[in-house]
Symmetry: C3
Subunit: 178 residues, 3 copies
């Protein structure tokens, strides 16, 4: 290997705005998980939004607990109230939050592995944008303003299908390392 090869390999790290063809050699994979890769930047942006949204679910739960005076722990109860469970408004937010754990965390982890395989940048960014936006919408129609089906189902299925596609893509890419 010569110094000239090295120079060629490193170019994308320096010229960070170009949509380089990531399939042209393993040398390019050096920089896939760094902020010089625009696809990883896109991934990080939408991850930060999704995590913020998940944290807000805790605040929504707390608001419903305050409003309906439904506290699950004896040490949280004040002023003669008793521990309560099963309030429908609290349970709705908690179901939405659990649905996030079941779908948003796998989406974030799978997208990370997907970005690390060096997919087509345009496709990858489109999938990440749509998948994350659908989850934001899912929370709105589930926990903020309950809307009749199929609004929630469609939002759920969009991210579900994208996560499946990413998992299949990584599966095929990495099956040789089984």
């Amino acid at each position: 290997m010569e110094s000239g090869t090295m120079v060629t390999m490193s170019t994308p790290a320096v010229d960070s705005n170009s949509d380089y063809d990531s399939s042209s050699g393993s040398g390019f994979s050096l920089i896939l998980l760094s902020k010089s890769n625009p696809v990883f930047g896109c991934y990080m942006f939408w991850t930060s939004l999704l995590i913020l949204k998940m944290l807000i679910m805790s605040l929504l739960t707390a608001r419903q607990r305050m409003k309906t005076k439904t506290f699950a722990n004896p040490e949280d109860v004040r002023g003669g109230l008793e521990v309560r469970f099963g309030d429908p408004n609290v349970e709705r937010v908690r179901r939405a939050h659990r649905n996030d754990l079941e779908n948003v965390l796998p989406f974030i982890l799978m997208s990370l592995a997907y970005v690390a395989t060096g997919p087509n940048p345009l496709t990858a960014r489109l999938l990440i944008r749509i998948g994350a936006s659908a989850r934001l919408l899912h929370t709105v129609v589930y926990a903020v303003i309950p809307v009749p089906q199929p609004a929630r189902g469609l939002a759920f299925l969009t991210t579900f299908a994208i996560t499946c596609f990413e998992a299949g893509y990584v599966f095929v890419c990495c099956v040789k390392y089984i």
Copy 2:
């Protein structure tokens, strides 16, 4: 530092099939989280399988909800049915799904950190393969075909022990950065 050193450092990224000794210098760590590292490729393959399995749990839950007509949200109910909770078949799948959240996601995150420390490639790939396979088995004996103990307990403990080992390994490796 001379150009000659640089060339040596970059060799593993180009010669992606060799099981290089990752402990020989910090320069090698450059490429641990890239698809040119066979251990990371192995990690990505099994991560994609585990995430696919977790997504299928949602479908299994939906199937049980349809079969037993147990829907948790008013907007999901049709044809004069009422909201219901606590059906044993639905709850079994939901417990299996929650067990996945509690064990598969930590296993995936811990394995990523473990791979990033540059462990022995043979050991690392063996641990990832066994840990992921045990979780696939766990789902089968918990949610698909309920089997008497200790089948589920053994599958659970296998991944549990591997995650603990990986955490201990990373702990010792990185204790200097505390």
Copy 3:
């Protein structure tokens, strides 16, 4: 681009103990997610502790189930006992475990993206140390020795605020890749 530039770019990977200024060029981002970056080492150390703690929650749950003979699956029950749900001691540990899923996993994922943006090393390590320690404390006052509020609330809010800050930081850093 000349070979000389390449040599400069790679220096931090070799000289792994220096707190280099990570904002000085995109070339530095090459090594942010590697163990030659002390901030990533610190992240990995605390991640291993948090994952170990989450795994211990499973053991705490099992201990409470044994003690109160509250088993959720028919195949776990022996000696003429029946399946039981809703024991307050078991449910307390389970709520603490679920709270971990809702907060520790987002903290770990968000910190990873935060480290990947190349923040100020001192700030980043401080945030990771405080955020992780607060969660360790949260488990103690929730599930091990229940303590009156606001002990649990303060521990919860500390990690919550740090995760929010990290998400905001990544959001601003990566908004150009939207």
